[in-house]
Symmetry: C2
Subunit: 417 residues, 2 copies
Amino acid sequence: MTDREDFERAGRRAKDAAAELAPLTRAVKDAALHAVADALEAATAEIVKANAEDVTRARAAGTAEAMIDRLSLTPERIAAIAEAVRSVAALPDPVGETVRGSVLPNGLDLRQVRVPLGVVGIIYEGRPNVTVDAAALCLKSGNAALLRGSSSAHTSNSVLVDVMRRALAGTPVPADAVQLVPGTSRESVKHLMRARGLVDVLIPRGGASLINSVVEESTVPVIETGVGNCSVYVDAAADVAMAVEILLNAKTQRPSVCNAAETLLVHADVADAFLPAALAALAEKGVTVHGDERVRAYGDAVVPATEDDWDTEYLSLDIAARVVDSLDDAVAHIRRHGSGHTEAIVTASQPAARRFTARVDAAAVMVNASTRFTDGEEFGFGAEIGISTQKLHARGPMGLPELTSTKYVVTGDGQVR
Amino acid sequence: MTDREDFERAGRRAKDAAAELAPLTRAVKDAALHAVADALEAATAEIVKANAEDVTRARAAGTAEAMIDRLSLTPERIAAIAEAVRSVAALPDPVGETVRGSVLPNGLDLRQVRVPLGVVGIIYEGRPNVTVDAAALCLKSGNAALLRGSSSAHTSNSVLVDVMRRALAGTPVPADAVQLVPGTSRESVKHLMRARGLVDVLIPRGGASLINSVVEESTVPVIETGVGNCSVYVDAAADVAMAVEILLNAKTQRPSVCNAAETLLVHADVADAFLPAALAALAEKGVTVHGDERVRAYGDAVVPATEDDWDTEYLSLDIAARVVDSLDDAVAHIRRHGSGHTEAIVTASQPAARRFTARVDAAAVMVNASTRFTDGEEFGFGAEIGISTQKLHARGPMGLPELTSTKYVVTGDGQVR
């Protein structure tokens, strides 16, 4: 059997499973999630053993320690993964929620209700915990999951999916609601991207190059996630101490994530008061500042910024910095270089805050708060499947409701036009 | 200058216009819409003259009269188009609406507010009124419109856009918020489909082949509209007279539109009572029934259905018909052949209605009502830009809110993580 036939069989099984899963009640889905969580914990030894094979292979291939760390599963991490599944069970079920409803003039009863999307394809990189997180979120929202993780984690992912499917086999949730895409070749990703009609949405989670290639090649609708070239704009009317604290937090609290700050924009009027303190604080945390000429005037350690720096998502202890002459220049910089993730302003001026929030086009705009708050947990949505940086369907942290569509149910007693 | 450079200039102007348009108030946008409506009426003679050129060319090319009728603009039709623009002005502005809001435990004020999508590309067929309707809906929802109509209506569309742009030039709304895609070649459509980063969403309005080619080739997110292979399922517990009336209305009241019925599914237990009356009523209206063997037993005029008939959107006085043994068989037929637009059940049984609405996956599911009600006006949304048959972003009739995205505005007083 070819890869393509293998894939189509898996896709059709996922589609059938989605149809079976859609009308199941919350109680049934939650019980299945608890069965999955218990099964994962019970299979700890088996999972750790499979994971050790992936880790050994990765070490032999000279993989960096940070990547090895992301790949590794320990009994403690497996317990945390199981606990995350139980947290998903505790979240409200979005399916069936009435989004709007009315009675039309002709007496028709119109209700728009949330329904599952159907089959959700997820393409992701090294972390095997995503395999379980994504499956749990899909299952709770009534969707079948077709998972395509990194080939470096394939042994771990195979065992994780196997354990979940065995757990589901004892419940009304069809085991085929959770599947790995067959094969580890690049072709197998292509099948997923071209599976229009079998797969309802694709969510790539990873770096810019993965996401671009999915957007370019996919005929299945895609939700882009994750690329965050976020900035902190320190307005003329900023409280300087607050601005330093927000900047440090946004840049250094966890530099490797998408909602960390990558650019600092400083209004010229506050540069004298703010930049010396800010540069000293950044230096103390080991941050390299890539500054324009005006920023470099405030510190010898500032390295010259190139045009590329404004577009770079460092994900490291680096930040690009520029002095701007006005709030509108900051907005224009963001329009040109931002990735539409999170942009922050620090200001005590109400008109400045109002103008910035109205004119900056991003998933999240922060006023006097760190960019690091753009997150499903922080926003109170519970777990998230990713942070959408596009404008269609979902924008910002995607929780369970963002994994649903709607349908109109129209009830009458014989109405015709 | 190449076509591609021409297109990119237009796209960049649209993107700049969208940024200017986004923060404008409802009052400003409504005044601009009234200026557009007045200008269209004042330019009636100019528009009719341009349209006559398109019509002459279409006649010379041997175009069918139905198409000529869709293409033609008369003073009365221009007045109706202007009036439709005024109706759009009268609709509520979706921009700025708070979709959800809360105060987080750390005191951050979280609001999710509606914002324009940005630049909306619309690809459509013969009717020049779509040029104005689409521009008005985009403008009201704060979006710039990049319009690509049929080359057969290019002279009419050029004048319509010209008149609208001249009207906008006297308002705070930038004229570049309404543009035709430069050129009439097939290449110019390709530029629009590949304009990721310049165009935020593409809405193709037309037949299945247009929509498929856009989905296949576009890197810009697409909202699919319009293909409707809708069915009426007459349940065992149906009121027979009501079922006949709904079927006739769904099939014959306006056969050329996407929410007209194309398939009839009849439960075996009601076939004796329903089919003779239904076939007689359909014959009287001139409908050709393409039936399976069991349907053919009820009428000599029924022509044999082929496998293709189940998947055909006739848009004519034809209907495919099949007898099924159960509600679940009807649901299975719809799952296999439906286009996800509108499916109707006629039944007096509450459990049957509940099972059908829960298991049929479509933009709209009708209980004891005609499929013809799936429509923005009928649903009370005012004008619609199309009927989405996909599951992402918008499903069913798309009004003004469906032409928006959202952004999170998060306001604090120095919060960090």
